[in-house]
């Protein structure tokens, strides 16, 4: 072969291979296009999400908390505007100098400055740091004007919680506070600086509804986290408003009435609706102070105070009901058929049982049911309870709402104890001894209850219906409470005894008779011992005094209000507790439209006399 042919063959080979390479290149470009097709068309939506994820950050905007009103629409708790100063450290030339400039207008303490400086060092410089809050309008306006000159200083508006009649409403409404560590993981909203959640009372019980839905602001950020622009916002949804059944004015009056006492609480129920009109507990605290800018020292002082001002005693105070419990024992006896209204028992001032002698507070001599309630004879009820037995007593107690938690939207209620043989076996692991039944009959021993439970029991006795207490006003009319499974004649007998307690000569609370014309109150006193065989000698002075209790309902003919009052270590129920109930009940009754009408009518008949009587406490 000639070399020339080689050259030709090589050129032909080049042409073939060049076409081959051209095809390969085209094929590889096809591969690139296929790849782009996959990224940009098939998986595009996925990458668009990732891209948006990259560039957008969402900031939560805290919603306004729902307002809480009392039964007449008066504000109890409301979100107020809170003027604050924040700095964005990255925009400040000199953070320390900026803080000094701020402190010329608003006092900023050295420790606050220190906190800001530390926060600025710890987190991204673009994250705002709160300097101080709760500015007055003047300070806020001044700073807002000056802000453009002070680099990195921003004024902003948040909210804080304001409570009206705060001390008297404190235990009912509760308070808010910064989200606790455990709560922070629960919802991202908790991370919003300065966001507060309900910590006690209604604020806590209805927190999820009061809280509302957070809004968001989306920002576009660059790869370094710098905000480039605002992309848009969704508005936050305000929390739900609630109306309480509490009458703020009455609550205030009750609170004032309790102020002379050391530790006391009073509950007043509307027996028809179950609405709690008054639930006062003393001593109290100021939720305004606790919710906003409280210092650690003051908080410890409140939390460690021997009288526990933070506790709502109406719900969480557990006391032996004492003689107020006798109405329950009486009903249990009547229902069981072990006593009759005419049966008389002899009270020699005590009751021997086994080797023990149970004392009565007085020698009553011969008493029948009405007198036994009226004069609060222990011996009569020792005998009654011995016949009834503790289990049947417990059934009656529970029927009347004792020893159970009533869901009124408040957390932390105490259940208290209504003992029976099963309970003792389960809790103490011991059999029931007959001797223990005797003291239960007069509301001592294992028996305990809270003021709210006592008020509910009173309401149930007064109406014969299964009254359920409530703190939140229902939005629509609720059906009447179902009738209790108790013989009405038996209820009438007990009620008559309670009327006697206040209104008949020899009753234990005759000194607390109402002074409103034509309106009578029925009640039952109780004086429960705190000293038992076990702690004898340990409790001295005030702590050794008996608790004073009083339960009542009024008006007698058509019961509308039921009340219970416990004065801790107040001495005798008739002396310490009954006057409180009388005074509060008077105010309650004077505000009742029906009674007001009757009063006006009688005033027109005898204006002078009624005036003199009606206004007396």
């Amino acid at each position: 072969m000639k070399p020339r042919d080689y050259a030709l063959r090589l050129r032909n080979r080049f042409s073939r291979r060049a076409v081959l390479i051209g095809a390969a290149q085209t094929g590889l470009f096809g591969l690139l296009l296929w790849r782009l097709h996959r990224l940009q068309i098939l998986e595009s939506s996925e990458y668009q999400l990732l891209s948006d994820d990259n560039r957008m950050t969402r900031h939560l905007v805290a919603p306004a908390r729902g307002t809480i009103y009392d039964r007449f629409g008066r504000t109890v708790a409301v979100d107020r505007e809170n003027f604050r100063i924040v700095v964005i450290p990255a925009f400040c030339d000199d953070l320390a100098a900026t803080l000094d400039a701020i402190s010329e207008i608003v006092p900023v303490s050295a420790s606050e400055k220190d906190r800001v400086m530390r926060a600025a060092r710890r987190q991204s410089g673009y994250f705002p740091v709160l300097v101080t809050e709760g500015l007055t309008w003047r300070q806020f306006a001044l700073l807002s004007v000056l802000a453009p000159q002070l680099k990195g200083v921003r004024t902003d508006r948040a909210t804080y919680r304001r409570y009206a009649r705060s001390r008297s409403m404190a235990h009912v409404v509760g308070y808010v506070g910064l989200a606790a560590k455990e709560e922070v993981d629960e919802h991202p909203l908790m991370r919003v600086p300065g966001f507060r959640t309900g910590k006690a009372g209604i604020e806590k019980g209805l927190d999820p509804e009061l809280r509302g839905q957070p809004g968001t602001i989306s920002y576009e950020v660059d790869a370094h986290g710098r905000v480039v622009r605002e992309l848009g916002a969704t508005a936050s949804v305000r929390g739900k408003d609630f109306a309480l059944t509490i009458d703020q004015e009455l609550q205030e009056i009750a609170h004032k009435r309790l102020q002379d006492l050391r530790v006391a609480s009073v509950v007043v129920l509307d027996v028809v609706t179950g609405g709690i009109l008054v639930m006062a507990s003393f001593p109290s605290f100021d939720p305004n102070e606790v919710s906003f800018k409280i210092d650690a020292e003051r908080w410890t002082e409140l939390a460690r105070n021997v009288d526990h001002p933070l506790e709502n005693r109406a719900l969480r105070g557990v006391y032996p009901p004492g003689s107020t419990f006798k109405v329950v024992t009486a009903l249990a006896g009547l229902e069981a058929g072990v006593i009759t209204p005419r049966e008389t028992m002899h009270c020699p001032g005590g009751y021997p049982f086994g080797r023990h002698f149970f004392r009565c507070w007085k020698r009553h001599g011969s008493v029948y049911l009405h007198e036994a309630i009226k004069q609060s004879c222990d011996v009569y009820f020792y005998e009654t309870v011995k016949r009834v037995g503790v289990d049947r007593l417990a059934v009656m107690s529970r029927k009347l709402g004792l020893g159970q938690i009533h869901d009124i939207g408040l957390a932390g209620q105490k259940q208290a104890i209504i003992p029976d043989t099963k309970w003792k076996k389960k809790v103490l692991g011991q059999p029931w001894y007959p001797g223990e039944t005797i003291s239960c009959g007069i509301g001592q021993g294992y028996v305990s209850s809270t003021p709210l439970q006592l008020a509910v029991a009173t309401a149930r006795i007064a109406t014969g219906r299964m009254v359920r207490p409530r703190l939140i006003a229902p939005s629509e009319a609720e059906p009447e409470f179902p009738v209790l499974d108790i013989d009405p004649t038996h209820l009438e007998l007990v009620r008559a005894g309670m009327v006697g307690v206040v209104n008949e000569k020899g009753g234990t609370a005759v000194r607390s008779v109402l002074t409103i014309p034509n309106v009578q109150m029925a009640g039952k006193t109780g004086t429960s011992q705190v000293i038992s065989a076990k702690n004898r000698g340990f409790l001295k002075g005030w702590e050794g005094e008996t608790h004073a209790l009083f339960i009542a309902y009024a008006p007698v003919g058509a019961p509308r209000y039921a009340a219970a009052c416990v004065v801790e270590h107040g001495g005798g129920g008739s002396r310490a507790a009954a006057p409180v109930v009388r005074d509060v009940m008077t105010e309650v009754l004077l505000r009742d439209p029906a009674i007001k009408m009757a009063l006006i009518a009688s005033n027109q008949e005898a204006p002078k006399a009624a005036k003199a009587k009606g206004r007396t406490r």
Partner: protein, 385 residues
């Protein structure tokens, strides 16, 4: 044309006016269009400003164009003589980089005198093509597939590949390899060599792999699949894929690319400019740009096919291979098909050296095209000079 053809046989010199007429003007238009895409992209990267990149890109293109004309209109025989010396100079400079190179970003690629600095590997890209073409111009066609005859060009390829690997500059090394092997293939070297090389690699690779330490294997795996390490080396490629993918069919709009403008993309004016372009222009824009490149490649192939001399054929197709390797590796890299090796997108990415090299390379393509009818007798040149 007829006259040119006849004259070319007797006298290789062609008059300047005729040369200008013989230039492939549509091809020049095509590469200008590609460059304008780059100008637009750089204008967008700068946030809607000609400064600092777009205007300089234009200036560099103009300088490059001047060089292109100079190269295209020069005598092809001159380059035949210059091929080996040029290769040697480039090789020396590559070696110098090893000794006195300026380090930047973990790799030593640059040679500098004061303000001025450049990458010898860029010169080598052209010199390698010229040298291999020169070799086959001299080699008797009957000996193309002789084992001894294959060794010199293999050495010519291997030395710069090894030097580039040492820098380390994997992209350039791959480019040398692709261009060199492509040229051997086009020069007519028997299939057997390529098949043997392929089989050899397949057989040896697992053994090499097995002999590596665990951390070396891990490093290589991360290099091949950066998504194994999404916060480190995988971050850039992930952001690039997000940018391209989020562009969708029609893109986010000119100057609207969020990934690019909010700085999630690295090196968006150089190696990752294709990413930014396809984020803003979408699949359609990216496809159009790729088609422009493909057209340029097909033009080059067409021009190479029409050349009469081996040298011109191989020079033109070698430059074509070079352009292809650049585009393919860059786009495959930013779309996550191949590891990140750091090669720019020719004519579009901002960068003086790569722009000038590419324009000179394209100048050689046009030079071959202008001299397509020139026959160069094998005997005209010796083995070395």
């Amino acid at each position: 044309m007829k006259a040119l053809f006849a004259e070319g046989l007797e006298r290789p010199q062609v008059k300047l006016k005729q040369k200008l007429l013989a230039l492939n003007w549509p091809f020049l238009l095509l590469i200008t269009a590609i460059t304008l895409v780059g100008v637009a992209a750089l204008y967008s990267v700068a946030g809607g400003s000609l400064e600092p990149w777009a205007s300089r890109h234009v200036v560099r293109y103009c300088i490059g164009l001047a060089l292109l004309f100079i190269v295209a209109l020069s005598d092809i025989r001159w380059w035949l003589r210059a091929a080996y010396p040029l290769y040697l100079v480039a090789l020396l400079m590559l070696a110098c980089v090893l000794l006195f190179g300026v380090e930047s970003g973990g790799a030593t690629r640059w040679l500098g005198w004061g303000e001025f600095s450049f990458q010898p590997s860029e010169i080598m890209k052209i010199a390698l093509v010229l040298a291999i073409a020169r070799y086959y111009q001299w080699l008797p066609p009957s000996q193309v597939s002789w084992p001894y005859a294959v060794l010199p060009p293999l050495a010519m390829i291997a030395v710069p590949v090894l030097l580039a690997l040492d820098q380390p500059d994997l992209g350039t090394a791959a480019l040398f390899g692709i261009v060199g092997c492509g040229l051997l293939f086009l020069a007519g070297v028997s299939w057997l060599y390529f098949i043997a090389a392929f089989v050899g690699i397949i057989v040896v690779l697992p053994h090499v792999w097995a002999s590596l330490h665990d951390y070396q294997q891990e490093r290589i795996l991360t290099f091949i699949d950066p998504e194994r390490d999404p916060s480190g080396s995988g971050y850039h490629i992930l952001q690039s894929k997000i940018a391209i993918g989020s562009g969708g069919y029609t893109g986010k709009g000119f100057m609207q690319g969020t990934q690019a403008h909010l700085n999630f993309l690295p090196e968006k004016h150089t190696d990752f400019i294709f990413t930014m372009f396809s984020e803003e222009m979408g699949f359609i824009g990216a496809a159009v740009l790729l088609v422009l490149y493909l057209l340029a490649l097909l033009f080059i192939a067409y021009m190479a096919l029409r050349c009469r001399s081996t040298f011109a054929r191989l020079v033109a197709s070698g430059m074509g291979l070079c352009l292809f390797a650049y585009v393919f590796i860059n786009v495959a890299m930013v779309t996550g098909l191949v590891p990140v090796v750091g090669l720019p997108l020719p004519l579009v990415s901002y960068g003086g050296t790569s722009m000038l090299t590419m324009m000179v390379g394209l100048g050689f393509v046009l030079n071959a095209h202008v001299n397509r009818e020139v026959r160069i007798r094998r005997e005209e040149f010796g083995p070395l000079w």
